[in-house]
Structures are given as C-alpha cells and as structure tokens.
C-alpha cells in the first residue's frame, strides 16, 4: 500500500468517526462506500497484473517450445534436406555430363563419315569415279546407314536420359521451398523472443506440426516412420492391395 493510499484511508477513517459522533448517518454511509471502493480497485489492479503475468508466461512457454522444436528437429532435418538437394543436383549434373560425353564422339564420327561420303558422292555425280571405287563406296554407304541407325538410337536414348535427369529441379524446388518456410518461421520466432525476453519455462517438445502435404521423401529424414513409399514398386503393391 502506498503512502497516498494510507493517507486517504486515514482521512476517510477520521471523517467516519466524526460523522458517527455527530450521528450523521448519511455521511457515514457515504464514507463507508468510499472505503469499500478504494479496497476493490486495489484488488482489481492486482488481479489484472497477475492475469497479464500469466498470459505472458503462457506465451513465452509456447514460443520456447516452438523454438526448441525448430532447433531440435527442423534444423537438422533441413540440413539433411539440403544435403539431399546437393546429391540430387550432383547426380543430375553427372548423368547429363556422362550422356553428353558419350554422345559427342558418336555425333563427331557420324559427321566425319557424312562429310567423307558426300565428297565421294559428289565425285560420282560428276562422273569422276572409277567403277571399282564406286563398288567400294556402295559398301561404305550400306555400312554407314546401318551404323547411323544404331548411333541415332543411342542419341535418342541419351537425350531421353538427359531429359529425365532434369526432373531433379521439381524435387529440389519443393525441398528448398520447405527450407525457406523453416527459415522464415525461425526468424519470426527469434524476433518474438527478443521482443518478450524473459520466460524461463523449460521447453517441452510440441506435437509434430506436419503439413497435410509432406512433399518429396528425403531418405533418412522422412522414411523413419516407415509409412512412405520409397519406390514405385511400393506404390504399386499398396494400390494392388486396395484392389487396383
């Protein structure tokens, strides 16, 4: 109780005694009401203060728990996810480069042979070719056709492989988007913590906040619970068990 409050109460008490001694009932009642009101307002203030304190501690507590989960689970998870992005992009780059390295010599040889044969063909058209050489050229052309067919087949296969190798972009894009969301969550959490510094409640693990769509399965992170299909075969098995 402050000094002011004390003085106010003392004054009210003196006035009350005076009123009672002079048998002024109306004045006495009024003073009694004033004393009660003073009492009530102090009580309400105290209840209000306690409520605010409780509210703040509750907030701090859930924030602490959220931050703890971020650091304990989500950040190591994010590291795994980013490593997976590295390995996927590396794999894509390697397989693309591999196909290109295989196919460049193939296309070079085909080109050289085409140049050589077209030179001979021009000479034949200009009637500048002995019959013996023409016979040899015919054999060369036959061989060239069959080799071209084979080589273009491998070019076709290689190009499809290169095409497929680009599918990493979709997967890594989804994973990186998730990590960006995590970084944003972390940032918001830290800003909030700085703002309301305090709160010593021991953080507890909150329930996992998995979204409805967990996205690409990152090996070693998402397949721990053994409730995901790791290969197309798993999907096919599951669907056929459902009568598909």
């Amino acid at each position: 109780m402050t000094e002011q409050d004390q003085e106010a109460q003392l004054l009210l008490a003196k006035n009350l005694i005076q009123a009672l001694e002079s048998s002024d009932e109306v004045a006495a009642d009024k003073i009694l009401d004033e004393i009660a009101a003073l009492r009530e307002s102090t009580l309400f203030q105290e209840v209000g203060r306690l409520t605010r304190q409780l509210h703040d501690s509750m907030n701090n507590f859930s924030l602490d728990a959220k931050m703890a989960e971020l650091t304990a689970n989500d950040i190591p998870d994010a590291k795994e996810r980013l490593h997976y992005v590295i390995s996927m992009t590396e794999q894509a780059a390697n397989s693309t480069l591999g196909v290109v390295e295989d196919l460049l010599p193939v296309s070079k040889v085909l080109n050289e042979q085409a140049v050589e044969l077209s030179g001979k063909w021009d000479r034949f058209l200009a009637k500048d070719m002995p019959f013996e050489e023409f016979k040899m050229m015919s054999t060369d052309i036959t061989a060239y056709f069959s080799q071209t067919k084979n080589d273009l087949n491998s070019v076709q296969t290689g190009l499809t492989d290169i095409l497929m190798a680009q599918s990493f972009q979709d997967i890594t894009g989804q994973i990186i988007k998730k990590v960006i969301t995590l970084v944003e969550d972390l940032e918001q959490g830290m800003v909030a913590l700085v703002r309301i510094s305090g709160g010593t409640a021991k953080p507890e693990k909150t329930a996992s906040s998995d979204t409805a769509l967990p996205g690409p399965v990152v090996p070693g992170v998402d397949d721990k619970a053994n409730d995901v299909a790791k290969k197309q075969d798993d999907v096919d098995d599951l669907l056929s068990s459902l009568g598909f």
Partner: protein, 130 residues
C-alpha cells in the same frame, strides 16, 4: 494393345520443368496432342471445355491441388469418367490411399522413369478398354 496416339492430354504441374519432361516423355511415347496447366484452378475450366481424353496431374500445387482437381473431376458428370494419372512426390501411404479412394486411375511417384510412365499409361487404358 492399341492406344489412340491422337488423344488429347492435359499435363498439370506447377513446375514448368516437370511439365516439359512429362510432355517430352509423352511425345516419345507417340502422344503429341498435349496441353499444359500450372494448377487445378487453371486446369479445371480447360477440362470442362476442352474434350480431353486423359489427365496427368501433380498433387502439391498452389491454388488448387491435384487431389482437389481430382475430386472436382469426379464430381462433374461430364468429366467423371476421365482417366487420371497422378505424378507426384507425395509418397505417404495415407496419401496414396486417399488418391485411390478419390478415384485416381494410376499413381506414379517422383522421381520416375520413362518406362514407369509408359507402363502406367498402358495399364490405365488397358483397364478401361478391358
């Protein structure tokens, strides 16, 4: 089995790279009549007016997801029988089951191979014809 190589196909994915890959694979398989949409919201009106024969859709897309698109397709009397292949990174058991219950005709998880895609498309039409 003979597939109609002229059938009209809609490929729905929010990643343009993935749309290009699927389109190229389909072309490799002989299907050239392909169109693209980047989420369910864009895809649905196209399906409703476009006389499509086949829908290939991703699941996780902003706007309208693939499963919502599938639900909308199955709820539309004109589209209810449209064959739908889901090509997605979502591999949780419960999600595959949900897709099956919603009426998907095939489910391929990313990353996938050209052979898998070909096989699933073949199976879908085999079942429809059979």
């Amino acid at each position: 089995m003979v597939l109609d190589r002229n059938m009209k196909i809609l490929v729905v994915d929010d990643f343009s790279t993935m749309r290009r890959i699927v389109k190229n694979l389909l072309r490799d398989l002989g299907f050239t009549n392909t169109f693209e949409a980047d989420d369910g919201k864009t895809a649905l009106p196209m399906l409703q007016t476009g006389n499509f024969d086949f829908l290939v859709t991703d699941w996780n897309m902003p706007g309208m997801t693939g499963i919502e698109l599938l639900k909308a397709v199955r709820a539309d009397p004109k589209l209810a029988k449209l064959p739908v292949l889901m090509v997605t990174a979502e591999a949780k058991r419960e999600q595959i089951i949900l897709a099956a219950q919603t009426g998907v005709n095939g489910y391929v998880i990313k990353p996938f191979t050209a052979i898998t895609l070909k096989e699933k498309i073949g199976k879908i039409f085999e079942r429809i014809e059979g």
